[in-house]
């Protein structure tokens, strides 16, 4: 169903070519020895994280609840500020960014989409463009375009409210909202966690398709190793606030790391795991 829609998004960025090349060379997101602990506590939530995400990559942060993967994500769009170390986005330190500008250039998707229940689907999706002062007509055509991209019929869904949608539909709207102002970077926090397995599989596949076609860079948080293998170009395994390893999916499954092996074993135990995502339709 998704493939019926042609690629129409991703307009030309208003940046000169040589600057573009610079941007491509520099990592889009870079962590240098970053630690974070809550004000009241001395126990660090994450400690000494160092990694980078290149243009067009999808980094999946994989780990159990409480391992610090969501905190890591929130450090990127400055919902949190590091206790020590430096976070850079587009080569620029996070503290040098105007947080409002930074967030509007960063798509953010959370579980259930975090949609505004009092906004219609169209207003939810058009939120950042509206904040950026786009013209009404332009917002409307962008909303219709995005609804089509995520596989929702604009005429049917634009005027609905989030409460009238299924979980999967809400999640699609959440992704569409994150893409609306054509941000170079997407942050996703267990976006498909609350969905039934079939809907989740379908959305995962569409997400991979989408990021490749739109050449988006993404940081994707999950505790599901199959999801990690499917959507990630790189997998960062986290435990107790530390990054244990950072590998491509191919190398991840071959890893000898004990913790990684424990995750990989769950794949073998699951029936039909050789083709986990085929035949979901």
């Amino acid at each position: 169903m998704f493939s019926r829609f042609a690629l129409i998004a991703g307009g030309t960025p208003a940046v000169p070519v040589n600057e573009m090349l610079e941007l491509i060379k520099a990592p889009l997101v870079e962590f240098r020895d970053v630690s974070f602990s809550h004000a009241a506590s001395t126990v660090p939530v994450i400690s000494h994280l160092t990694f980078s995400v290149q243009q067009g990559e999808t980094l999946v942060l994989l780990g159990e609840s409480g391992c610090g993967k969501t905190t890591t994500l929130k450090l990127i769009n400055r919902l949190l500020s590091p206790t020590s170390g430096e976070v850079k986005v587009e080569g620029k330190s996070i503290t040098a960014w105007d947080p409002i500008r930074l967030r509007r250039r960063t798509g953010y998707v959370i579980q259930e989409g975090g949609l505004f229940p009092h906004f219609s689907v169209a207003r939810n999706i058009g939120l950042v463009p509206a904040l950026e002062g786009w013209e009404k007509e332009k917002i409307k055509s962008r909303v219709d375009e995005l609804l089509a991209i995520v596989g929702l019929e604009p005429g049917e869904f634009a005027s609905r409210y989030p409460g009238e949608l299924s979980g999967g539909q809400r999640q699609r709207v959440g992704v569409a909202r994150a893409l609306a102002a054509e941000p170079p970077l997407l942050l996703l926090d267990e976006p498909f966690g609350a969905l039934d397995p079939l809907t989740r599989a379908s959305l995962q596949r569409q997400f991979v398709d989408l990021t490749r076609r739109l050449k988006k860079t993404a940081v994707f948080v999950t505790h599901d190793v199959r999801e990690a293998l499917l959507v990630g170009s790189h997998i960062g395994l986290m435990q107790k606030g530390k990054l244990l390893l950072l590998e491509t999916p191919e190398n991840f499954v071959k890893s000898k790391n004990e913790y990684a092996l424990a995750y990989i074993e769950t794949l073998d135990l699951a029936p039909g795991s050789s083709q986990p995502l085929e035949g979901s339709r």
Binding site: I100, T106, Y108, I110, G114, P117, H118, L127, G163
Partner: protein
């Protein structure tokens, strides 16, 4: 007379008081929202302020309304007599539900939604206006709804500080034992509260998010509902506005600026009749009169001191004991002279000649009881009171020439602590056997009608209570007609006449304005 018949007859007055009522409620709720909403928002940002401020608002609401009114009267700027004081009190009462619901509503917004709003790149004020306030709106409206219903109720008490409203009927009804009057105030007030509650209930539903989930098809109807509510509110506000402008226009009508006098009265029939007598006589002499009648407790005195009232009827004994705080004495001349001198020195207030009647405390028992026990004087009754219950007005219980000295002078011991109640209710309580002895007024019109007997004050305990007017000196020099009117009224009203006037209003349920007009005509006082 049936209630509906009564309403038809008093339609214009009902509308006027309804308008005053609506106006007070509308203005005070508007101010309360203007203060409460920002305060509530602030409290969601500053956690440390939440406890103290909600605490203060909470305490405000526990203060009995009459006490709050009393407390506000002497304050400069916000106090005084009339609508302003009432509005201040109403605002204080309305604040708590509005602040509390604003805080609850905003803090109740799903943290995921708020985080998403921040992560989308909304600024602080965008998060507030586009996300937090709309999502909290249903809860905030509930707060306004509660505040509005409270305000409609409390406004009935505002009549005690001369702010008008439907409470005027209620107070008058209680005083005159007139259920029609009471209902004429209570029923519209109750209907008003129900209507406001229902109307805002619809607004609340409109804002509630849960309804939006299922309401695609119903959105047309929703618009009609909200339209209707808006139209009703607009109509009421327009009506109130036009109404208040009308009454202002009618007051300023005329070619030459006429002198203006504010006539006050206390909150019982006799005082209101005396106020009305002065008012009509002044009006007949081309003075514009504003009536601030039916003021409770010490309010007329406070009002006179604060220049909010020019003249009001008082009793020499009351001024002597309750205001000048002298121990009661029984010589009328000495009391009058002392009061006149001290008022002139201390307050720059003049005392008129005595009006001719003495309204002293009348110790009353049921006629049947008096005849059976052959009671003529209070001393006659002293042996029996051991088995009697007494009922006294709040005034009598607290004043220097009241209860404590009275029981001491006659060596009385009642079966129980006396029941403290509204003075006007004590007559009914006595005649229906709820109590056995009361301290009424000697000019009370219904003493004979209810077959009550006044026991003679044989120990001469009660000081004289000659009726007089108190007038500000500056009002006397500003409005010469005041001198003329007071001159005519000197020694002009006998105790018999006063009792008759009271009886016409209290027992025969006639309007005091009409009763006074008749009496003035008979006396030939209307013509200058």
């Amino acid at each position: 007379m049936s209630f509906w018949h009564y309403l038809q007859q008093n339609w214009t007055e009902l509308l006027q008081h309804l308008r005053e009522h609506l106006w007070l409620v509308f203005i005070s709720t508007l101010i309360a929202v203007a203060i409460g909403l920002p305060t509530g928002i602030l409290l969601t940002r500053k956690k440390s302020l939440r406890g103290p401020i909600l605490g203060i608002a909470n305490v405000m609401q526990t203060i009995p309304s009459l006490a709050l009114f009393g407390f506000l009267i002497p304050l400069p700027f916000i106090g005084g007599i009339g609508a302003r004081t009432a509005i201040v009190a109403l605002v204080l009462y309305s604040l708590l539900p509005i602040i509390r619901n604003t805080v609850t509503g905003i803090l109740g917004v799903d943290p995921n939604v708020r985080e998403a709003a921040v992560a989308m790149g909304m600024t602080g004020s965008q998060v507030l206006w586009q996300v937090e306030l709309p999502l909290a709106m249903a809860v905030i409206i509930t707060g306004v709804r509660v505040a509005l219903v409270i305000a409609i109720g409390v406004t009935t008490i505002a009549a005690a500080v001369g702010a008008g409203g439907l409470g005027v009927f209620i107070f008058r009804g209680i005083r005159q034992f007139d259920n029609n009057l009471l209902l004429a105030g209570a029923v519209p007030a109750a209907l008003l509260a129900l209507t406001a509650d229902f109307g805002l209930g619809l607004v609340e539903k409109y804002f509630s998010v849960t309804r939006k989930r299922k309401a695609v098809a119903g959105s047309g109807r929703r618009k009609i509902t909200i339209g209707a509510v808006t139209a009703i509110i607009a109509a009421v506000v327009t009506g109130v506005y036009v109404g208040s402008r009308d009454s202002r226009d009618s007051r300023s009508h005329g070619f030459l600026p006429k002198p203006r006098v504010v006539v006050g009265s206390k909150d019982f029939t006799e005082s209101a009749i005396l106020g009305e007598i002065a008012a009509q006589m002044l009006e007949a002499r081309g003075v514009i009169v504003e009536r601030k009648f039916e003021l409770g407790g010490n309010l007329p005195h406070e009002g006179l001191l604060a220049s909010q009232i020019d003249i009001y009827p008082e009793y020499s004994g009351t001024a002597y004991t309750a205001i000048l705080k002298h121990a009661p004495i029984t010589d009328p001349r000495a009391v009058y002279d002392q009061v006149k001198q001290e008022y002139a020195e201390k307050f720059k207030i003049a005392l008129s000649e005595p009006l001719g009647f003495d309204n002293t405390f009348a110790i009353l028992v049921r006629g049947a009881e008096a005849r059976r026990l052959k009671l003529k004087t209070i001393s006659d009754a002293a042996p029996y009171v051991r088995n009697w219950r007494a009922g006294f007005g709040q005034d009598f219980m607290s004043r220097a020439d009241g209860y404590p000295g009275f029981v001491k002078a006659y060596g009385l011991k009642f079966a129980d602590q006396p029941r403290e109640m509204d003075l006007s209710l004590t007559y009914i309580a006595l005649s229906s056997g709820k109590v056995d002895l009361i301290a009424g007024n000697s000019t009370e019109g219904r003493i004979a009608a209810l077959d009550l007997v006044q026991l003679e004050d044989d120990s001469h305990y009660f000081p004289p209570y000659e009726g007089v007017y108190l007038v500000r000196n500056d009002s006397l020099s500003r409005v010469p007609a005041l001198n003329e009117v007071l001159g005519k009224l000197a020694h002009a009203i006998s105790t018999e006449e006063m009792r008759q006037l009271n009886y016409e209003v209290d027992a025969n349920k006639r309007g005091q304005a009409e009763v006074v007009r008749e009496w003035l005509k008979r006396k030939g006082f209307m013509a200058p």
